[in-house]
């Protein structure tokens, strides 16, 4: 199912569309990404036998605030783009560490994980197009254990857990922000 959605999104992104539709497509993409991230966390908890009411301690990894009232929608998208770049960097680091730790497995978790990575990359491209600037879409994270504070195997798992929560958070933020932007632009077009 994930593959099918993936193809649909790819098709959507390749289609030429006016600006109004781009925001709509980006918002839809973020919504799908949020669903994927939620499912990925569910699979992770299942794999690690972690109860859903057991949450890891620690602060946010990506700390950017989109809630400031002074920020315009475009500025919010700019911040969102930066946050998503960091998320992509974290996810790629996560994949690297897990493959070192467990080898290259081919379960459902790994499949969904790859799908999230791809979709996150698509979302970055979408937000870049929305911003109409030459934003970087490369992952923004140095995969360094000392920087990440990863100590030991269990520490790496907790870091993974936090990264997955971070992905959910930012995918949800992207969905909401882009939805608002889509509504605004649509309103302007109608006027």
């Amino acid at each position: 199912m994930a593959d099918q959605e993936h193809i649909e999104i790819d098709t959507l992104l390749d289609m030429p569309a006016p600006g109004r539709s781009r925001t709509g497509r980006a918002a839809a993409l973020a919504r799908l990404l949020h669903q994927d991230c939620t499912y990925l966390l569910e699979l992770y908890r299942e794999r690690e036998s972690l109860l859903s009411d057991h949450t890891p301690a620690g602060d946010r990894i990506v700390s950017l605030s989109l809630s400031s009232p002074d920020l315009s929608s475009d500025e919010q998208v700019q911040l969102l783009h930066s946050a998503l770049r960091k998320c992509l960097g974290l996810l790629e680091c996560l994949i690297l560490r897990e493959e070192e730790e467990m080898g290259e497995l081919e379960g459902e978790y790994e499949t969904v994980r790859k799908g999230v990575r791809d979709r996150l990359g698509h979302l970055l491209h979408s937000t870049k197009v929305l911003l109409e600037t030459e934003e970087d879409v490369t992952p923004d994270h140095q995969c360094n254990e000392e920087v990440d504070g990863v100590v030991g195997t269990f520490g790496a798992k907790m870091w993974t857990y936090r990264v997955l929560l971070e992905l959910i958070h930012w995918a949800n933020s992207a969905s909401q922000t882009l939805h608002v932007l889509h509504s605004e632009r649509e309103g302007r077009e109608e006027i």
Partner: protein, 945 residues
């Protein structure tokens, strides 16, 4: 302490005596102290030192100056002062360092909490004082505020026991401990440390087993991962060469280690060289040169395992696949295939090669690189591949080459298999079977059919397309001996001719006897006596027997030296009769030898017998029917069963085992309605049955005969009476022959021998004229609806309103009375006319003195039946005794009180009934008499002998 005592004892040496006594006393006192506290003579260990190896959870304790080989060691958890160990151990002094060292492996990780250790020397029961207490600090000290869990990231064998401890962050409260998703019981080791012990751990998943510690808010505050698995256990190391130079070793991975990732996975080395490609299920490793001896080492964090193999190169040759297959020569029936070797060494090796074509063919040769493929089929596509092995010291087949496809050339087809099917003497069809791929040897373009007659010296030639497999023929003008020749044509030429002499048309039932043949599960087994004139063998053909036009004819050929065959076909169906005909075939003639009929499976007939009809013959009923049409028989008809049908109940009357017999007579029936069912049956059972009904009527000829006999008897009697009583009995004659006024009836009544008096009721009415005076009580035809006691007669109301004769039987009781009265009563008749004519109406010929059925009961009690074999009774609404009168009730005053002894009572029904009431004797004689008489009379009337 000992030295203190000495300093104290030497201050004043002048006091010798006192000193001596004092010293003696003190020594005794000292010895006494030594005995009490045990410390005398043994020095406590000095400079006790603790060293911890936290990875292995090993604590190393070293000390000096023990001067003993046995020591007591005591270990406490410092914070709660709980005893962990109190043990006496033997430790020898290291001569080079002068120190004692003792190692202890803690079941609890050494980080969990601080441990206090002290040691004392022991010599038997003597012990020194404890050494100063040494503390191994844990990580739960206040200055180490973070939450932690130990041990972390360990790899242990399956089945291990482990203790995990959680150190709660300063200021937080412990919540719970979880192993995987299981809440486990904790044990408090210190203020901040809680531990749990897991026993007999099972294998982990690829990411390891989590042990999680949470606080009271269920937040994960610490955790550890343990990897539980097995050491490697590979097997079956085998090394071989594919190119006569290098070595390729393979082995089985064996038991799963459950350990993954770069750190924990299994690594392999072959003769000391790494095997980086040995991953997952691909357990193989290669070396450039053939060593002859190989050692495989498999290693992971839990251990290593070694496998060895040794062999000479020539014993382990498994060639690579041949390359560049070609077909230098291809013909209709054979072809040659060649190939090359990538490694020149194989060109100098004795090889055995397999060629996969249709099945495997094996060839051998030195440096084999070409083979000839024989027994191929013309115009056939083939795909060939080759693999080889070392002929000497064969080890294993090498890899298959890539397949090579080629097609053989075409050739003339085989002669068609032809046969003739004659519908009549001159008309028929030439049939031939389509040629299969293996027979046609190329695409058939058409057929040529030649009819020729040596007698007439004439020939007809017809060319037909490839899709036609039969040809109607008319040999009227071709003489008696006609030969048919069929050839097939393809691009390679014309086939050999197939000839057959037209056999004489012989339908069933002519000349040749027909036997039955049974299907034996796989076919119809036929056997016959050898025929002299079967030079080109026999032909058995078969077809659906009931088919009349354009029948599907199949045939098979049998060699001349064979006299049996099994006829098999996918076109046999259950319930269909097939005719099998055996022909002897020669160049001169085709002669029908034998015929069989057979069913693959017999079924019950699909329909009933045709035109089933009953025919009454007196008390008998003859049933006749026609046979079931052949296509509906669905089995060999073995016979017929005849049933008497009573509602849904069938009573078997006869089983006719001659299937040609299509009639049956049911005898000795009493009056009434009957239903008969006739069923044909095969080996599979009976059909549904055809049913016919009949209502038996009185047989008039018998009645007429009895009337005539009665009249004759009466005449004779009158003559005798006239002679006997002439002279004095004239007056009696007057009475006797007195005509009843106004009725036109004569009543003759006998009572005793001579006491005859007229009866006003027992009478015969004679209708003198159909237009008789209506003022008189004329008797006319009375419809039965008007009769008394119509209850049982109601079933017959659809019959014509003419005279009816009920040939009833009195079942029991008065047999001795019946026969004489049969003639007595009829004596009152004065005339007999055609019973079918309404001008003469017999209205109650009564055996008045003797018959009393009307007197027996007004409700017609049922009489016991004698069974169908004796007298078949009408099944429904049957009449018992004198049925028409049975409901009559005696209302005659003469009958009252006299009962049955009233011998001259006139039956009230005699006036209104239009029926003859005749006796019927139930004795054997009585039973046979009317039947035989009626049969005789019927035969007389119908002219039958």
């Amino acid at each position: 302490m000992f030295k203190a005592w000495e300093i104290f004892l030497y201050p004043n040496p002048a006091l010798n005596f006192f000193t001596t006594v004092s010293r003696t006393c003190l020594v005794v006192l000292y010895l006494g102290f030594q005995t009490v506290d045990g410390s005398a003579g043994l020095a406590p260990p000095q400079q006790v030192r603790l060293d911890a190896d936290k990875e292995t959870q090993t604590l190393s304790v070293t000390w000096e100056d023990g001067h003993a080989s046995t020591f007591d060691v005591e270990i406490l958890r410092t914070e709660l002062m709980e005893m962990v160990l109190n043990e006496t151990v033997g430790v020898t002094e290291d001569q080079s360092t002068g120190k004692h060292q003792w190692n202890w492996t803690s079941p609890v990780p050494l980080e969990c909490t601080s441990l206090s250790v002290k040691v004392r020397s022991r010599d038997g029961q003597d012990v020194s004082e404890w050494s100063s207490q040494q503390i191994l600090p844990g990580l739960d000290l206040p200055d180490n505020t973070d939450s932690q869990m130990y041990p972390e990231g360990k790899t242990v064998p399956v089945g291990s026991n482990m203790t995990f401890c959680c150190i709660v962050e300063e200021g937080q409260q412990f919540g719970s401990l979880w192993y995987k998703d299981t809440l486990v019981k904790e044990n408090m080791l210190s203020r901040r440390t809680y531990a749990t012990t897991m026993t007999n751990q099972g294998p982990s998943n690829p990411s390891g087993t989590n042990v999680v510690c949470s606080n009271e808010k269920k937040m994960i505050i610490a955790g550890a991962v343990v990897f539980v698995g097995y050491p490697p256990l590979p097997s079956d190391l085998v090394c071989e060469t594919h190119d006569l130079t290098s070595v390729d070793c393979q082995w089985s991975k064996g038991r799963d280690t459950y350990l993954f990732g770069m750190t924990r996975q299994t690594y392999y080395t072959l003769n000391g060289r790494n095997c980086p490609k040995a991953r997952n299920s691909n357990m193989r490793c290669g070396l450039e040169q053939w060593d002859g001896n190989w050692t495989l080492v498999a290693r992971n964090l839990l251990g290593e395992f070694r496998l060895t193999d040794a062999a000479e190169l020539g014993h382990r040759v498994r060639p690579v696949a041949p390359v560049n297959l070609t077909t230098p020569e291809v013909y209709s029936w054979n072809a040659s295939v060649g190939w090359l070797w990538k490694d020149k060494g194989f060109e100098r090796l004795s090889l055995i090669c397999q060629v996969c074509l249709s099945g495997h063919q094996t060839y051998t040769g030195y440096g084999l690189n070409t083979v000839v493929l024989k027994d191929l089929q013309p115009d056939e596509k083939y795909s060939v591949k080759v693999r080889c092995g070392s002929q000497k010291n064969f080890w294993k087949w090498g890899e298959w080459s890539l397949p090579l496809s080629f097609q053989t050339k075409m050739d003339r087809s085989v002669a068609p298999d032809i046969w003739l099917w004659m519908d009549s003497d001159n008309l028929g069809r030439v049939l031939w079977k389509p040629l299969t791929k293996s027979e046609s040897h190329g695409q058939i373009s058409g057929y040529e059919v030649i009819l020729w007659s040596p007698e007439e010296n004439s020939q007809q030639t017809l060319t037909l397309p490839q899709s036609v497999y039969s040809l109607p023929i008319n040999v009227t003008d071709l003489g008696s001996k006609v030969t048919v020749t069929v050839t097939a044509r393809n691009p390679a030429g014309v086939s050999l001719p197939a000839n057959v002499v037209i056999p004489r048309y012989l339908p069933d039932a002519e000349d040749t006897a027909i036997s039955k043949v049974a299907f034996n599960g796989s076919g119809f087994p036929l056997s016959w006596v050898a025929h002299a004139n079967a030079s080109c063998g026999y032909v058995v053909d078969w077809y659906n027997t009931s088919c009349t036009q354009d029948c599907n004819v199949e045939w098979t050929r049998v060699a001349a030296d064979n006299t049996n065959t099994m006829v098999q076909s996918g076109n046999f169906f259950a319930g269909v009769r097939y005719t099998f005909s055996l022909y002897a075939c020669s160049s001169e003639s085709t002669v029908l030898l034998e015929r069989w009929h057979g069913y693959m499976q017999e079924l019950v007939p699909s329909r009933t017998v045709l035109r089933l009809s009953p025919n009454q013959e007196g008390a008998d009923v003859q049933l006749t029917w026609d046979q079931i049409p052949l296509e509906h028989q669905r089995g060999f008809i073995l016979g017929y069963t005849v049933y008497l049908t009573n509602a849904s109940h069938l009573t078997l009357l006869a089983n006719i085992t001659d299937p040609q017999l299509t009639n049956h007579t049911v005898r000795n029936l009493v009056l009434g309605s009957y239903k008969f069912t006739v069923k044909a049956y095969t080996a599979a059972g009976e059909d549904g049955g055809a049913t016919v009904s009949i209502s038996l009527e009185p047989y008039t000829y018998w009645l007429i005969m009895e009337i005539l006999v009665a009249l004759g008897t009466m005449t004779c009697l009158l003559i005798v009476i006239t002679i006997a009583f002439t002279g004095f009995s004239f007056s009696i004659f007057t009475i006797l022959w007195k005509t009843m006024p106004g009725t036109g009836l004569i009543c003759v009544c006998f009572q005793g021998t001579l006491d005859v008096k007229p009866s006003p009721h027992s009478m015969v009415h004679i209708v003198e004229d159909s237009v008789w005076d209506s003022s008189k009580e004329a008797l006319v035809t009375v419809p039965e609806e008007d009769e008394e006691g119509t209850g049982d007669e109601a079933a017959d109301t659809d019959e014509p309103a003419s005279l009816r004769y009920y040939n009833q039987v009195v079942e029991e009781g008065s047999s001795s009375q019946r026969r004489p009265h049969a003639s007595d009563s009829s004596a009152s008749s004065t005339g007999s006319m055609d019973s079918g004519h309404t001008d003469v109406t017999y209205t109650g010929i009564q055996t008045s003195a003797c018959y009393r059925p009307q007197m027996q009961s007004a409700s017609c009690p049922e009489e016991p039946q004698t069974g169908p074999e004796e007298h078949l009774q009408p099944p429904v609404g049957s009449f018992g005794g004198y049925q028409p009168q049975c409901s009559w009730k005696q209302d005659s005053p003469e009958a009252d009180g006299d009962g049955l002894d009233q011998t001259c009572l006139g039956s009230p029904t005699s006036v209104t009934s239009s029926q003859f009431l005749l006796p019927y004797d139930t004795s054997e004689e009585g039973k046979e008499h009317p039947s035989s008489a009626s049969t005789w009379f019927h035969n007389l009337l119908t002219g039958k002998p």
